[in-house]
Amino acid sequence: MSQTAEAVLSPETVLGEIKKNAVSHIVWLPDSETNWLYVLMKAEPSLHVVAVSREGLAYSLAAGLSAGGKTPIILIQNTGLMESGDSLRGWALGLNIPVVLMVGYRGWTRHGITQDTAAVYTEPFLNAFRINYYLVENDADAPRISAAFDEARKTRRPVAVLVGDEYHGFH
């Protein structure tokens, strides 16, 4: 197996992190980064998948789940993250919701110049909202997902995980 093939983020690894952190509900809007993860999430009996029609609804929905004693995670893309700023401000930050946002980092690249404005504005957007974030590119980075959960619980704030790679199918 080539080194390139090894350095990927597998959906099984992400699901393992989600289960390790006792997530009860996946609040999500599909994006190209989470396609493979969706199949696994739907098959996992301990998880409830709640699809939203717009990213702004994810924060208020997660706030309601959290107020009701559950542990949601939000899975969206960076494009939707930016579309939903006021809801992030009012519902997630305003109600002190300890929630992890896994954000598909569309356009991100470690090599060369980023061409996609979705990527250009992602980190400045999170910084503007003073939301801490962790970059996850492959399975070796997976412990950062648990770090994000720990930080969210301790600070009672949303914490982001930027997914810098598409999931590459089942292993």
Binding site: H48, V52, G56, L61, L95
Partner: protein, 195 residues
Amino acid sequence: MIDTAEMLKIFQQHRGDAIVVPGRGGRHWTRISTQPNRDVPLGDPAMGGHASFAFGLALARPDQKVIVFDSEGDLLMSLGILPMVAEHQPKNFYHFLLDNECYATTGGQPVPNAKNICYDVIARGAGYPLAASYDNLETFAVNIERILAQPGPVFTALKIIPEIQNDPIGKRKKWLLRSREQVIKDLQQEIGIAG
């Protein structure tokens, strides 16, 4: 059209021990409710989110009846909540819509196509099995017990009298009696969730 405070007084008689998310009706409801620890008055964290917050609460606590008083301005901003609820068919979720045909808190400007929208038809089309509308208090009073006796999700649109505010926001009377954090803590304690 229906007076919101009078409607809420009638609703209170049938509320039982349901959790109530009063939305923009909160400024009346906080004076009317007899179970404040089962109320979730949050003011206006961000427009368009009251129903999805209540929906999340209903999913988290299927053992509790959850009632939300949404508004048409909020719903128009987030119509996608309707198929989200309909997909999950939460039997404990009751969605009331206060439709005053305007943005009352910004001076009363009309919402788009204000007088010609059938919100109950939209809800039914999105997949709510039960949806109705009322434009007078007497008919609402006759039906409220039946509405709340049916399994959710139930959608009820109410034509209400606008209560337009023109004062600068900083000069408006504060009606939230507790902080948002305290509201949620009180609810969690009331329903047995360790905060």
